[in-house]
């Protein structure tokens, strides 16, 4: 089911949480609402769910105006950050809840409910836990039960608030993959909220970057990463080196092989991803020295110090594969030559 938000605004007292949000989500997408904490992403999710009311604007689900519909009538499934499992019910009763509270006329028979609940529990691979209570489960298990419970009412939209926020790093990795494949299987339009850009890139098919109650950019992970719309998105999505253009810096950037427009506007900044910087051992004096490096698994992060005349020294980060770095045989304090392959320009 497609989701269309038009002109959504929300204030909490004097604080403007959301400002004229326009958003269209086609059917079947898995969308990440990404932004720093306090950017309004959870508020937006709760407004789509009907847990919060919008001050103005409209919410259309599958072309139908649902702005004034109660949360119980919107046909959404909501997975809460802390799962919100019913602590006094077993896993089975938790999942069956949504079917059992249905109107008598549309409620499935108890046998049908039992069958479907077990099917859902099998879907999340936890049927063997159906007799347990939520407090007897691990975080990852609770998360999956919460998902099964939300799916039990056959929602046309699945909303997840920081679905991996409260989990261990290793469990989180597994669940991300699992959620992605589950979405592939069910193909229900899903939106999840996260502040972790890596998670958004890895799981989502569409990413919506929010900041201070506004949408900064919407697009596929590749679009967002390769063509950030502005400084905020560029900085928020992955690591970046920022160079504010002066004549000295421009000259230096040209020396590194980057094309620099001669008539650059004042305040122009160049953003360079660490992996777009290549380093080689310098044979003569260069303005860049190697300060330190850290192992990031397959990659090495190298901290360089750029020391241009009339400027305070500045750290520049580069990344390259382990083996390549080793073959360079660099030591701390060595002068290096830089080659910058690519930059994003903003004014």
């Amino acid at each position: 089911m497609s989701i269309v938000l038009s002109n959504i605004s929300k204030n909490f007292g004097d604080f403007s949480a959301l400002h004229d949000i326009d958003l269209e989500i086609p059917e079947g997408e898995l969308v990440a609402l990404l932004g720093p904490s306090g950017c309004g992403k959870t508020t937006l999710l709760r407004i789509i769910a009907g847990l919060e009311q919008t001050d103005k604007g409209k919410i259309l689900l599958n072309g139908e105006d649902k702005t004034d519909f109660h949360v119980s009538q919107r046909g959404i499934g909501f997975v809460f950050q802390h799962y919100a499992l019913f602590r006094h019910m077993t896993v089975f009763d938790n999942v069956a809840f949504g079917m059992r509270v249905k109107d008598k006329k549309v409620r499935p028979s108890e046998a049908e409910i039992t069958r479907k609940t077990h099917a859902l529990l099998e879907l999340v691979q936890l049927d063997w836990l159906h007799n347990r209570f939520p407090d007897q489960l691990s975080g990852g298990q609770r998360q999956r039960i919460a998902l099964a419970r939300a799916l039990a009412v056959e929602p046309s939209v699945l909303l997840l608030d920081e679905p991996f926020g409260a989990l261990d790093a290793s469990v989180r990795k597994d669940l991300r993959q699992w959620l992605r494949s589950l979405h592939h299987e069910l193909n229900v339009t899903s939106i999840f909220v996260t502040h972790d850009q890596e998670e958004a890139m890895e799981v989502a098919s569409q990413v919506v970057v929010l900041n201070k109650g506004r949408i900064e950019q919407q697009g596929s992970p590749a679009e967002i990463y390769d063509h950030p719309a502005n400084v905020f998105v560029s900085k928020f999505i992955g690591q970046t080196n920022e160079f504010t253009l002066s004549h000295f810096t421009a000259d230096w950037l040209k020396q590194t092989g980057l094309y620099v427009n001669e008539n650059f506007a004042p305040e122009t900044v160049a953003h360079v991803r660490p992996h777009d910087i290549e380093i080689t051992k310098a044979t003569n004096e260069t303005p860049v020295t190697l300060k330190d490096w850290q192992h990031l698994g397959a990659l090495i992060r190298i901290e360089l110090v750029k020391n241009l005349p009339h400027q305070t020294p500045k750290s520049v980060f580069a990344e390259m594969p382990n083996a390549q770095f080793k073959s360079l045989q660099l030591n701390r304090g060595d002068n290096v030559d830089l080659k910058i392959r690519h930059a994003h320009w903003f004014n």
Binding site: S72, F78, H82, A84, F86, R87, H88, V101, F133
Partner: protein, 287 residues
């Protein structure tokens, strides 16, 4: 694990002065025995001072039975009303943001901070023959002061806070996520309340109801002011005890007192059980 360690460390640092601990325990225990246990034993002793038959006949006296009936009647009206009120107030305070919320919280506590006698006097000022509504009530032949309605009203006022006070901290701690989850799954407001909220607050609610009931049955000050002490008509059990005692009918007075004392003991046992139950529930929930 770290909690266990820090606790033992704590005990050691505090346990250094052994005599402090022992003298504190001794003082607390002697107070308990002197001011709680001895009076309780005396009440029972006095009640049976003239033998079991005298005790039994005192308990089945017409005035005594009428006092017990009135006490039960009052509690029967008061407790359900204040249960509903307490849940509603706790719900409003913990689930909604509104102007005057802190005022409402303060008002709920008012009966605790005002002397019961003053509470009683307020009702006399409002509903008494010389009071604000006195004339109107007289014209319509409605009796509140020195009658049963006054007793019920005063008791309701006094026992207002018990249920709400138990529920507010618990519901604050629980948050509303589970309730929101039930709504998102299609539950109606009533389904949410009876299937999600109530099971989670039931022990605290029962605890509040129990305290409310104990106070409703035992209230003396406020009721004494509005009752008028009319035998068999407006005497509750605590008032009957006082009246009998003043008339040197000590067996009757202490027999009544023994019933109230028994009520207190039962309340204490139930209270301990509910406290244990509540703690148990929360302990498993936080695992």
């Amino acid at each position: 694990m770290s909690a266990v360690i820090s606790r033992t460390v704590h005990q050691n640092t505090l346990g250094d002065a052994n005599w402090v601990r022992q003298s504190l325990i001794f003082t607390a225990l002697s107070f308990l025995i002197l001011f709680l246990c001895v009076p309780l034993v005396l009440v029972i002793f006095q009640a049976f001072a003239k033998g079991f038959d005298a005790y039994a006949s005192a308990l089945t006296q017409k005035d005594m039975l009428a006092a017990m009936r009135l006490t039960l009647f009052t509690a029967l009206i008061t407790v359900p009303l204040n249960t509903v009120f307490g849940v509603a107030a706790a719900w409003a305070i913990t689930r909604f943001e509104f102007r005057g919320k802190s005022l409402l919280i303060t008002l709920i506590d008012l009966p605790f901070s005002v002397s019961p006698v003053i509470s009683g006097l307020i009702f006399v000022l409002v509903f008494g023959t010389q009071g604000w509504m006195g004339e109107w009530l007289l014209e319509h032949d409605i009796k509140i002061i020195f009658a049963v309605p006054g007793i019920v009203l005063a008791t309701i006022f006094i026992t207002f806070p018990f249920v709400a006070r138990q529920l507010i901290p618990l519901m604050q701690e629980m948050g509303s996520e589970e309730e929101e989850a039930s709504l998102s799954l299609g539950a109606s407001g009533w389904q949410m309340f009876f299937k999600i909220t109530l099971p989670n607050i039931k022990w605290a609610l029962l605890y509040g109801v129990l305290l409310c009931n104990a106070r409703a049955m035992g209230e003396f000050g406020a009721v004494s002011v509005v009752s008028g002490h009319i035998r068999s008509l407006t005497n509750t059990l605590p008032l009957h005890v006082e009246v009998s005692y003043n008339e040197y009918d000590s067996v009757s007075a202490f027999a009544g007192a023994s019933v109230l004392a028994a009520l207190a003991v039962v309340t204490l046992i139930l209270k301990t059980f509910l406290e244990w139950k509540q703690k148990n529930d929360r302990a498993t929930a936080s695992l």
